[in-house]
Symmetry: C2
Subunit: 345 residues, 2 copies
Amino acid sequence: MVTVALDAMGSDLGPEATVGGAAKASRREGAPHILLVGDEAILRRQLTVHDHDRERLRIVHAPCFVTQEDKPKDALDRMPECSVLRTTELVKRGEADVLVSAGNTGAVTLAAARTFGRLPNVNRCALGAVYPTERRRGEKDDPFSLILDAGLTLEVDAEDLVAFAVMGSAYAARISRNPEPRVALLSNGSEPGKGTRAVVEANARLSRVRHLNFIGNIEGMDIPKGTADVVVTAGFTGNIVLKMLEGVAETVIRLGRYAGDQSLRYKAGLGLLAPAVRKLRRATDWEQYGGVPILGFDHLCIKAHGRSTERAIANAIRVASRTAQTGLVQAMDEHLRALDDVEIS
Amino acid sequence: MVTVALDAMGSDLGPEATVGGAAKASRREGAPHILLVGDEAILRRQLTVHDHDRERLRIVHAPCFVTQEDKPKDALDRMPECSVLRTTELVKRGEADVLVSAGNTGAVTLAAARTFGRLPNVNRCALGAVYPTERRRGEKDDPFSLILDAGLTLEVDAEDLVAFAVMGSAYAARISRNPEPRVALLSNGSEPGKGTRAVVEANARLSRVRHLNFIGNIEGMDIPKGTADVVVTAGFTGNIVLKMLEGVAETVIRLGRYAGDQSLRYKAGLGLLAPAVRKLRRATDWEQYGGVPILGFDHLCIKAHGRSTERAIANAIRVASRTAQTGLVQAMDEHLRALDDVEIS
């Protein structure tokens, strides 16, 4: 049975949403054990108002917590007993298999860095984010591609890109149930010689990695097409790409105005498309979409958005539980270790 | 009177399109003198079939030319009398004010690098590209923003970004008749401290540059909004962003499929929007949109796309003529020189 440690404090919507989400998750079939980490009195009160499975929820007291406004380093130095550090410690000691937090992203990453080790051949960590594409993949007909890094490590070298590719592939294989996800480097041209020095070198190295379905470089237009299941890039580029995608529906409406077509025909067309555009807008807001993984530590962290609703928290717990059940960390460790056997040119 | 030197050889559609475009441009009011550079026999034959103003067109013979498939360095070494080198030499000697070429981009850039000098405080050159936005700007209600670099200099330092900002501002002021274009750095957050080391340092330096309407950092979603008139970024990022924009109309249709809304309502909506989407598709294909500047040399180069039609060539000649009339190179020289007075932190 998997145990998920949930940092129940410090999200924008407060313990009501986190406890509500955990309560909802506890009632699902095959639910994991969930440790709710935070102020015992507050969490206990919240549990009285949320229907839950008592066998699967347990409170672990932490007397204080980091807020979204706190500076991560100062806050962790000042509050060694804060909920996020308690949560990482539970995972480190093996009392939980994986952590979920909707708190301050910097504090979660720093708490993980202080408590956990890094996987072999990983110098820097990556935040994975998903976005919808035209293509469906895997057993679940999943429309989502994974892109990493989404903004944690802005500048990368070839070694970072190789590690991101290996970790992203292992994650997508488990979450999308897609045994051989197509992995690509984002570049300014599809030929292997195109790109920054880091991209060109990473391309050469990834072509020699076994057990990886590396399809080479992809370009900007391939992102929405879904040419790759896992898109590997520096956090700087990944963040810009994701923020362009978030507003893509609005973009076309705006650019439609550029096109100057203010006819009734055009307006009627927009009206008919409105429900699809709304649905798309929700799906491209990746931060609202359950949890995203922080990859690179020897224990797993699932980051939920600060504004996560009950439903988003419940989704994040489900994703976290699945990664633990399918041995994601062990698989990443093994594949990253195997990079030592790849000849370096 | 401005003189434009047109490399009439080596484009995908051949001298028919380049001579046709020059002939069309020559008939416009206020047209420049145009030097057609290439094989005299071929160009003379083309002129017989295109209605033109004889006073404004002159052929300058060049016995050979670089093809799109040639390797730039090999080709220029092997053919010192090729049309693109003849064209840069005409500009260097002052027989023409500006050059236009629809030939091999690498060869044009290399020919310029071998013939021209670089402007002060410029280490690397930038290719500027335009894309449509919701916002209109300048005297002409121009819907286009300029983004540079579009893919010539993949990796940049802070100094490159500062030079791109200054040159892009001078170009936009003249082409969009927008006296104080809003200039921004593309980054992963709007705060001055966000971004790669180069972006953070460039932000600090640009804030101290006088005579520049620097509005700070913008994010991915600001690109289609048109928050900035001039978007400054590394060629790697600029290329990816432009290629995402090119397919933006198709993107929404594709993602609409993701949204699973295959109803008649949805299909009818798409049908009504089709004319606007087609117009948008043409406008976002920046490579087809007349000419784009190669900025950084002490003489001006306008690069037209390899597949340029007569109309695109005529537009490129008009843009080239306007930059020469408005003293773009002199203005860039002056503003770049003034960077020496900016205190370096």
